[in-house]
């Protein structure tokens, strides 16, 4: 009987081929987890599409892209949900994506949205988080974080994590040609640079650092989910660097109509209402239920720094090398 069930699961593993009624969405793990937006999104979309929404979960947003690149034209993915601003260019260049026909005019991302391949589904801003009970005079800008030698800092490796890459670009946007000096200054009071967000944030919670690179919405998480008010986000007087998460559909999708329907669904309130307190990011449309108070108002457009995607794609490796040089000197 146990052998039978083993064979059964083996057969299942071989047979998990998408049928016409199943929409395969590749996403990262915490989106699809039981406490993420995934289950609610699935329920809401299935109620209107008469189909099955199947999440295939990868470990990270870059994981989504590399999986699709591995699979190439034989990918069973219909939609990729969870790429971000900084890998958009690379994703486009694979030639695997299809243009969407969704109207993105009501999108509230800084500067508006007009990309024909990608539909944004949430937005957030990188920020350093500190424990207000441990720090009496908190930093007020990125510069404060970089230059205050008494501040113990943990951030993520730009080679292995998206927030890490976000910081790299933020530094570049703020410091420009002086970025390498800034990195060197920061390195002198850096506790460590971890592989991913989880490692550094848990080190921070254990008290290993004064500030950790995360998102402005981390503050909201602690307040709303835990009733904990001591964790605060460092404000950034120079401007915030955004993370915008996007979705795209695949050219070879066997269910392109369904995929298109899902792409449009992303900008519907049923989808957007799940974002704030499940993915701990901001929605990208205005027509949503009011956010909990802990979500501070979004920075206005002039408080946001962004580097053009083409430049990021072209210079990324050079900037990573600059960071490596400055921090290992």
């Amino acid at each position: 009987m146990s052998i039978k069930s083993l064979l059964g699961t083996a057969a299942l593993a071989f047979a998990s081929v998408s049928s016409a009624q199943t929409l395969n969405v590749y996403t990262y793990d915490s989106f699809a987890s039981e406490w993420g937006p995934g289950p609610k999104v699935k329920q809401a979309f299935e109620a209107q599409c008469d189909c099955e929404l199947n999440f295939v979960t990868l470990d990270s947003s870059v994981g989504i892209l590399s999986r699709v690149q591995l699979e190439g034209s034989e990918s069973q993915a219909d939609v990729l949900l969870g790429l971000d601003l900084n890998v958009m260019q690379a994703a486009k260049q694979t030639g695997l994506l299809a243009k969407h026909g969704v109207d993105t005019s009501n999108v509230t991302t800084p500067g508006g949205w007009s990309d024909e391949y990608f539909v944004p589904f949430d937005q957030g801003y990188f920020s350093f988080i500190y424990n207000s009970e441990a720090i009496t005079t908190p930093p007020k800008s990125l510069k404060d974080v970089v230059e205050n030698q008494d501040l113990r800092v943990i951030y993520q490796d730009p080679r292995t994590s998206t927030p890490g890459l976000g910081l790299l670009l933020w530094m570049k946007a703020v410091y420009g040609e002086q970025a390498d000096d800034a990195w060197q200054t920061l390195a002198q009071h850096t506790v460590t640079v971890t592989k991913g967000w989880s490692d550094s944030y848990s080190l921070f919670l254990k008290g290993e650092a004064d500030v950790v690179l995360s998102y402005t919405t981390s503050e909201a998480y602690h307040v709303v989910a835990e009733g904990e008010h001591k964790y605060k986000a460092v404000s950034a007087s120079e401007g915030y660097y955004p993370q915008i998460e996007v979705a795209a559909m695949l050219k070879e999708s066997a269910n392109s109509e369904l995929a298109e329907q899902f792409m449009a669904f992303i900008l519907q309130p049923e989808f957007q209402n799940t974002i704030a307190t499940n993915n701990w990011m901001y929605p990208v449309i205005e027509d949503v239920e009011p956010l909990p108070d802990a979500f501070t108002a979004l920075p206005s457009d002039d408080q946001v720094l962004t580097l053009p995607a083409e430049q990021v794609a072209k210079q990324r490796q050079r900037w990573i090398n600059e960071w490596l040089d400055a921090t290992t000197r």
């Binding site: 083993l6 083996a10 593993a13 071989f14 081929v17 793990d29 915490s30 987890s33 039981e34 993420g36 199947n54 999440f55 295939v56 979960t57 990868l58 470990d59 990270s60 870059v62 994981g63 892209l65 590399s66 999986r67 591995l70 699979e71 190439g72 034989e74 990918s75 069973q76 890998v87 690379a90 490796d157 080679r159 292995t160 850096t190 506790v191 460590t192 640079v193 971890t194 592989k195 991913g196 989880s198 490692d199 944030y201 848990s202 080190l203 254990k206 008290g207 290993e208 981390s218 998480y221 602690h222 989910a225 701990w280 490796q317 090398n321 960071w323 490596l324 040089d325 921090t327 290992t328």
Partner: protein
């Protein structure tokens, strides 16, 4: 002709399943390689700084682990005390503790607000080489102790009988008897730990204190995941294989030749002269273990006492991930055992033949191959092979099972080979005379080999249970294993629940390790 015997066919099948598939995966990856561009990569000064650091930290980690493991193993071999068995069980589990959990355990003990700081008033210099060594010794010293204890069991009883009659102290016994056997096991063990540390990833980044402490594996990860640059990834993987092979060559050149002893009888061991010095050293070593390895373990299992633990246990997703983990770990453990038995069958056939030793060594060492090639690289190559063959790519399950199984090979071979060689050397002539081969021989040897096989299987199952990297790459429905679930929890701010899931993972490891050893190893099984 020796190797074409029909009873060896299943063994060849095992070798093909291992080396054939691994070769295909590597070739698939290399088909994307453009060696002309490698010259440019070779000039990257950062890569060379990183290699220098990796060589340094991996050698130090391996040396330190062995330096501590030798006296601890000697003490655990000679002394019987309450808690000894529990300690050995914990030692078996230490290497599969997910790196983030181990790091958090270490933080609780040695961190800024940790027990060490509270006790001594000053923080332990954790970030940098110190922290890396601390963590690597935590992972590998227990492994080394277990391997060395296996070596101890190869010392014939007659030697202890003589030692007792001649009034040896522990020090005499160590220099005259134990060292003679240990020194043959140490080079291989050094290499094993060296390679594990050379490719260690999350730990080195978390505790390294900045990109100065890094490994080639980070660069490989970056090339595969962020840049999807298969050319660069294959260059880096080859570089890693080359460096590890060079180190292996060097170590084996310096290593004494392993000669298998025949006369092994297990019986009551005779008492040795016990001096104040040996008691002191034993006590000090046990104290060191109690202060170094045990506190992070205690910190890791401490969440059992919290209410969050019981809430975590009630989540159906937890049990679902447990089931997924077992569903992957058992088949991949079995696969590892079958491949190891195949390699062992060929190696024993060749061993002690004219010019056969060379090839027997090669079969043995081929098991180490996977330590040099990152699992991520193998899995990616395999994925390309699957795509090329047009086999459904959604069958990530089998890729994960295979890669996990292959990753465990070095450990399974280490458990299995000594006993297999011993049987071969003692009974080879009898086997030849009476034509005892294949299945008949297996049945004959089963009572003797079952405990070694059980131990190998248990190791393999544990390694697969603890694996994250490969599963993460192919994560899809049905593959949400316990470590993945754990990372999901921590990745969504639920650090406490993640810590509780870690306790479940460790308990699962301990239970499976015990059950496999008891059920398959029989009552005489060494745990």
């Amino acid at each position: 002709m020796l190797l074409t015997a029909s009873y060896l066919r299943p063994a060849w099948l095992g070798v093909v399943v291992y080396l054939g598939i691994a070769g295909a995966a590597l070739l698939a990856l290399l088909s994307y390689a453009a060696p002309s561009s490698w010259f440019e990569y070779l000039q990257d000064p950062y890569i060379w700084r990183l290699i220098r650091f990796s060589l340094w930290q991996a050698s130090l980690s391996a040396l330190l682990s062995l330096l501590l493991a030798v006296p601890v193993a000697s003490c655990l071999f000679h002394r019987r005390f309450k808690g000894r068995q529990l300690l050995l069980n914990l030692f078996a589990v230490s290497m599969v503790v997910p790196s983030i959990v181990a790091v958090l355990g270490i933080i609780v003990v040695y961190g800024r607000n940790g027990w060490f700081t509270q006790l001594f008033g000053v923080p332990f210099p954790l970030y940098g080489l110190g922290g890396i060594l601390l963590a690597h010794v935590f992972f590998n010293m227990p492994l080394a102790v277990r391997v060395l204890l296996q070596t101890y069991s190869l010392i014939p009883d007659a030697q202890w009988r003589l030692a007792s009659q001649l009034g040896f102290t522990r020090w005499h016994a160590f220099t005259l008897i134990e060292w003679h056997y240990l020194k043959k096991a140490l080079p291989g063990l050094f290499l094993l730990i060296f390679m594990l540390c050379f490719s260690s990833f999350a730990v080195v980044l978390s505790l390294g204190g900045g990109p100065r402490s890094s490994t080639l594996e980070v660069a490989i990860y970056q090339a595969l995941r962020f840049e999807f640059d298969l050319n660069k990834a294959s260059y880096l993987a080859l570089l890693q294989v080359t460096i590890c092979s060079l180190v292996a060559l060097l170590v084996y050149r310096l290593a004494p030749k392993v000669v298998q002893d025949v006369s092994v009888f297990r019986g009551a061991s005779a008492p040795l002269r016990s001096g104040r010095l040996s008691t002191t050293v034993d006590g000090a070593m046990l104290l060191l273990v109690a202060l170094w390895v045990l506190p992070p373990f205690v910190a890791i299992v401490l969440p059992v006492l919290s209410t969050v633990f019981w809430q975590t246990l009630q989540a159906p997703a937890l049990w679902h991930s447990v089931w997924n983990s077992v569903r992957i770990a058992l088949p991949s453990g079995l696969l590892a055992l079958l491949i190891a038995l195949s390699l062992a069958a060929l190696a024993r056939t060749l061993r002690w033949r004219e010019r056969g030793d060379f090839w027997a060594d090669k079969f043995e060492q081929s098991g180490n191959l996977v330590l040099m090639i990152p699992g991520l690289v193998l899995a990616t190559g395999l994925f390309i092979v699957f795509r090329f063959l047009g086999i459904g790519i959604s069958n990530a399950y089998w890729i994960v099972v295979w890669v996990n199984g292959v990753m465990a090979l070095p450990f399974v071979l280490r458990s299995l080979l000594p006993s297999v060689y011993q049987q071969e050397k003692r009974f080879r002539l009898l086997y030849q005379q009476y034509g005892i081969k294949g299945w008949a021989r297996f049945r004959l040897e089963w009572p003797v080999l079952r405990s070694a096989m059980a131990q190998g299987l248990a190791y393999a199952v544990l390694i697969s249970l603890g694996d994250l990297g490969v599963v993460a790459l192919f994560g899809s429905k049905g593959l949400e294993t316990l470590p993945l679930y754990l990372y999901q929890l921590i990745g969504s701010y639920r650090v406490d629940q993640g810590a509780c899931a870690a306790v479940v993972l460790i308990s699962l490891c301990v239970v499976l390790f015990y059950v496999i050893n008891r059920v398959i190893g029989g009552r005489r099984a060494e745990l």
